[in-house]
């Protein structure tokens, strides 16, 4: 990740501040967190390289995607790099709110322990287990754990898969999960030129076109069961839902967002209150990413 990318994120944060109410409160932490990840990856890259070998056969990709099979490419993750990023993110939390230093100290102890007993390289599944452990032990609340772990994992994935992702023939792909890594998506966009639904993998950043009126999780195309909600003052974030599998995902309508190079992951973080609304309306995240804590509820004036 280059510094220019960091500037891109900063611009996006500024744009989101104008678009979404309440986001300004997350901004200082988000800036700290992105800074922590970017600078870690940059220095780590210089020291020993974070890049893992990715087995990707272009000829096989064509027939696999055509047959509706995702490439399922999951690079191995260097345990040291992962723990390093998670540690930096923990530091970022402490810098913003020093009063929760104790739980971050506990978090770092768990990370040390994880590094000791793990092999040099781990897979995504082991990282999820670590996340569940941290949540189960009440060290990080679910939303913070989702934030920290998705940020760390996606930074490593994107770093390793960016080149492959760009060359992938996603025009052949009609599935709802990621064509490259197989992960279930959490957000996407409506393209400004023609309104096409483009889904972005939160993990590896691959983008692909998906039929507008179709559920990416259960492939339901029954129009009566599909729909979306927006909030009255702002229609740039649509929460799309499917009543058959009771799932939701978010679409950002770039026709109503001025500017180019939109960083969707920042928009996702800026609209976490929509995730809360979706849960209150009875839907669960189709991606499996839980952005809402247990017992977290809307506080209404009336």
């Amino acid at each position: 990740m280059k510094t220019s990318q960091q500037e891109l994120y900063q611009e996006e944060i500024a744009r989101c501040r104008r678009l979404y109410r309440g986001f300004e409160n997350l901004e200082p932490f988000l800036l700290e967190a992105f800074q922590a990840v970017f600078s870690f990856i940059e220095s780590y890259e210089e020291r020993e390289g974070i890049l893992e070998k990715v087995n990707f056969d272009k000829r096989k990709a064509w027939s696999r995607l055509k047959n509706g099979e995702s490439m399922e490419i999951n690079p191995t993750i260097q345990t040291r790099a992962l723990v390093g990023i998670l540690n930096e993110l923990g530091q970022a939390v402490v810098r913003i709110s020093p009063e929760i230093k104790d739980s971050i100290t506990n978090f770092q102890k768990i990370l040390e322990n994880f590094q000791e007993k793990s092999k040099e390289r781990v897979l995504k599944e082991e990282v999820w287990k670590l996340k569940e452990l941290v949540v189960g032990e009440d060290i990080l609340a679910r939303d913070m754990a989702t934030f920290i772990f998705t940020l760390a994992l996606s930074a490593i994935y994107r770093f390793n898969l960016e080149a492959v992702s760009k060359g992938l023939r996603t025009d052949l792909w009609e599935g709802g999960n990621c064509a490259l890594c197989g992960e279930k998506p959490h957000f996407g966009l409506l393209r400004s030129e023609d309104g096409a639904k483009i889904i972005e993998c939160w993990l590896c950043g691959t983008q692909w076109n998906h039929i507008r009126i179709k559920c990416p999780y259960c492939s339901n195309t029954e129009q009566e069961q599909l729909g979306f909600f927006t909030v009255e003052e702002n229609d740039s974030c649509r929460v799309q839902f499917c009543k058959k599998c009771s799932s939701y995902y978010k679409l950002f309508d770039t026709r109503s967002i001025a500017g180019e190079n939109i960083v969707l992951s920042v928009h996702n973080l800026a609209t976490l209150s929509y995730d809360l609304l979706a849960r209150e309306e009875g839907f669960k995240a189709g991606s499996g990413l839980e952005w809402v804590n247990e017992g977290e509820k809307l506080e209404l004036d009336d």
Partner: protein
């Protein structure tokens, strides 16, 4: 070693409140609460533009049973998300203007099958199953009643298997393949008056 809650607490030596996004300043609940973000539900439905023979795909946005917006369907192979000026304003077709010039949903919009029996002075509401079955039955009856099996041509009796009692009109909204099948179907029934709606 599997790290259990107890072994962890021993390891850490302290217990503390879990760090959440609220603890770094971001309350999702506050962002959505107070003067509450009011939710608006919308449904999307596919349709085909009714104006010309190109047959562009449209996605209609429906809120509380009323069409609020229509846009080109980006997944439709004909128009790929675009619409002409007539097509872009097609959602207005479902509205009429009241005394104050405000658009209101057209109360006369047909939402049922209306049937007027021969000789009757009034319409009855019917369902689609009844309508399609009746149409099929009448086509079959008319064809059976009027089918000419042979005709005399140049003093010779030849097989014709045709009916002059019905005609078949093709549609420019259908694909070439669909129209091919309709043509075959009409021919199979003995219909010889086949025409097309294209204004060429």
């Amino acid at each position: 070693m599997e790290l259990t809650r107890r072994s962890f607490l021993k390891l850490a030596g302290v217990t503390a409140a879990a760090a959440s996004l609220t603890s770094v300043g971001y309350g999702k609940a506050q962002a959505a609460s107070g003067e509450r973000l009011r939710i608006r539900y919308t449904q999307e439905f596919h349709t085909i533009c009714t104006f010309c023979g190109v047959g562009c795909g449209i996605i209609c946005n429906v809120r509380d049973g009323v069409i609020v917006n229509a846009e080109g369907d980006p997944d439709h192979p004909i128009n790929e998300g675009t619409l002409c000026s007539k097509g872009s304003s097609i959602s207005n077709v479902s509205y009429v203007f009241d005394d104050k010039g405000k658009p209101v949903p057209n109360p006369k919009r047909l939402t049922n099958v209306l049937y007027r029996a021969p000789g009757s002075g009034r319409y009855e509401i019917k369902d689609w199953d009844w309508a399609l079955e009746t149409i099929a039955k009448r086509i079959k009856d008319t064809r059976d009643r009027t089918l000419e099996e042979t005709a005399v041509v140049d003093g010779r009796e030849v097989t014709v298997n045709r009916t002059n009692a019905m005609g078949w009109l093709g549609s420019a909204f259908c694909t070439g393949e669909e129209n091919y099948l309709f043509h075959k179907m009409a021919r199979a029934m003995g219909i010889i008056n086949i025409d097309h709606c294209a204004r060429l």
